[in-house]
Point group: C2
Chain length 398, copies 2
């Protein structure tokens, strides 16, 4: 399998005059998603009505699309299912994992984790009782901090601010050696770089589809459970579509087979239709080729920026092997600089307190765009009015 | 405000040759939803990309649309927010409510509740520990069963099988008199009949939008928290969009103001766009007129069916004041009868073990359709081949 990234770019609908370096926040629209969503709305919902659950295959979509995502993250067939949001899936996986280590009370994470993961863990610990706690350490201190009280290590593989990438295989081994389970959040990994969940021996993983996987605003999350755990897991969020026989309307919950038990309620079919159109593109993508291209793009960007300005300080690891598919720079006036960039048609994003963040998404981003974006960024920093009080005032209110 | 139900019917896209009496399971497509969803996909997602969160108002939709649903269920402005699925919202509201009665350990429900509500409660109780329990009694025994150990009474106002309607005001009073809180599931109430949450003094409520509210397959759920509780509630599902300042990326959760704290993760924008188109219709609907029309339709159906056959036994309350907006009949071969009906273009649904269920949705269902549906049902029961082994065999496999 090889990937022609010129061909994949033509499969996205990108606005004129925009260089989009924020596909790590919200992926762009696959051209085919327009007709796919319209078909779901008009032919399926409109004409089939309730019959769409069977006739249009709606009921099977969470599992069928999960299998297509599985390939991208090195997961076994039948181990991934779509549904809910990433925050909900973090809660569900974490609650399941904690029950598998009943004599331990600590969730270990790092200070670079996405705040919602930490919040969901805080909420779960508060529900479970005073002896449960979330403990966070610096990212580089995780391995050493997996003590005998740690039930679950919960990490986001790629840091949402800096792009710093954890060593999934090593940390999974470290967690297991200490008797803990591990839960990986792949929000900035799935579709960004090759992931090898099965090979690493991961226990649980979660991720979202609206970033690199281009499923559109609010697209559903996914959850992975290692096959060896699937029939032991008790889903704390035990909804009817995770029941062994949802349409038997049994008064008592009995978990479904395998990954099906991680389903909860009725799946969002319009969002899944958009995801399906996007996965038609992803089915053609070789993840090693994607990674090589991603590194080319990010290295090119760093080199061009650093050649053009000395006002920015790299916040991401300099070694591309230690990064995901994004690059961040510190700048004390980062917010205003990003606003100026957006005014010039280069869309990245700003993350407090001072980060300019740029995502590199090989399916639709070209080397020429990356060079041009770096050029515009350097121009802004040397010549533009972004640092006038008037500009900053305007930027704050838009 | 009056409602012209001939005019509202024209606002739905209904397939030719179908009499749709299953809007209580999945509402039909509002004509305007086609363009509204296409606009969200093509102009908003496609052209605005990440900027859509502000420029297209995506971030505000869960609250803005919640306020429009609030009118339909007698809720105060600012007390309803959209998100997740009904099962997740049941869990969230129930967990919040249980914490407000820390000295009590029982969730009381009834055997007519929708199984997923019971499953979510079972899952939550198992997570909370061995001293928590879900207790179910017959629907008519709920009031008497609210003992001093009951923390929360969790009821679905309208029974999904029979349409039997609880007395919300009386049971809310009974719960409060016994020191318990009450959580109402409005899955078969919202858009089906007038609901008066504030007047009844309800504590929490949840509901879905894809039934009577016509938001499409997998449309999001909503949650209501009484204003008097909003600033005391700790959301057990504490996600970043419920944080006081989501984009501050604070490592510690601090609940947002009011109903905002019940938000969890990223909202499903395509589904919300479809809901918005549907609420443009609902904004014109007078709920008292809707109820009068709903009763006319269901009374007409019962009378016509009972005049035409004696093979069916009414499973719904005969008194329309004690019903929601659906009518069910028992028949020992209910599944095959429903298949035969669907073959003749009348779509209702079957609920095990023996229920034929028909929803009456005044926005698009006419008296003529109801009469014709009853006629076809009676024809099937007296003359059709539905009761041959060959038909039943065929019906089972489709």
């Amino acid at each position: 399998m090889t990937t022609d990234f010129t061909a994949t770019r033509a499969l996205f609908d990108l606005p004129e005059g925009v260089i989009y370096l924020d596909g790590n926040s919200l992926g762009p629209l696959p051209v085919a998603a327009k007709a796919r969503v319209a078909r779901t709305v008009e032919q399926e919902w409109g004409q089939m009505l309730i019959r769409g659950w069977n006739a249009a295959g709606w009921m099977e979509m969470p599992r069928a699309l999960g299998d297509r995502i599985a390939r991208l993250i090195g997961a076994e067939p039948g181990s991934v299912v779509l549904g809910d949001t990433l925050s909900i899936k973090v809660y569900q996986a974490l609650a399941s994992a904690l029950e598998m280590r009943p004599d331990r009370r600590v969730v270990l994470s790092d200070t670079g984790n996405f705040p919602s993961d930490l919040y969901m863990a805080q909420g779960l610990c508060a529900t479970l009782g005073a002896d449960y706690a979330l403990r966070t350490v610096a990212p580089e201190e995780v391995a050493a901090a997996i003590g005998p009280d740690v039930a679950v290590v919960m990490l986001t593989e790629v840091d949402y601010r800096t792009g710093r990438k954890h060593d999934m295989a090593a940390l999974t081994r470290a967690a297991h050696a200490a008797g803990a389970l591990i839960l990986w959040d792949l929000a900035h990994s799935a579709g960004a770089l090759p992931v090898e969940l099965a090979k690493a021996g991961a226990d649980f993983a979660v991720g979202c589809t609206y970033k690199y996987l281009n499923s559109g605003p609010g697209g559903p999350a996914f959850v992975y459970v290692a096959p060896r755990h699937q029939d032991r897991v008790r889903p704390a969020l035990s909804g009817w579509l995770g029941h062994e026989a949802p349409f038997a309307f049994d008064p008592d919950y009995r978990p479904g087979a395998g990954i099906e038990r991680m389903r909860v309620g009725t799946p969002p079919i319009l969002q899944l239709a958009a995801l399906e159109a996007s996965l038609d593109i992803w089915d053609r993508v070789d993840m090693a080729a994607l990674r090589a291209r991603s590194i080319d793009l990010s290295e090119c960007f760093i080199a061009a920026v650093e050649a053009g300005t000395d006002e920015l300080r790299l916040a991401s690891p300099r070694d591309p092997a230690a990064r995901g598919s994004q690059v961040s720079f510190h700048h004390p006036e980062g917010y205003a600089v990003m606003q100026a960039l957006i005014h010039r048609g280069v869309i990245g994003d700003f993350r407090a307190p001072d980060l300019l963040r740029f995502g590199f998404t090989p399916l639709f981003t070209t080397v020429e765009e990356v060079r041009r974006a770096a050029e515009i960024l350097c121009e802004i920093l040397t010549t533009e009015a972004w640092n006038t009080p008037a500009f900053k005032q305007r930027a704050k209110v838009t």
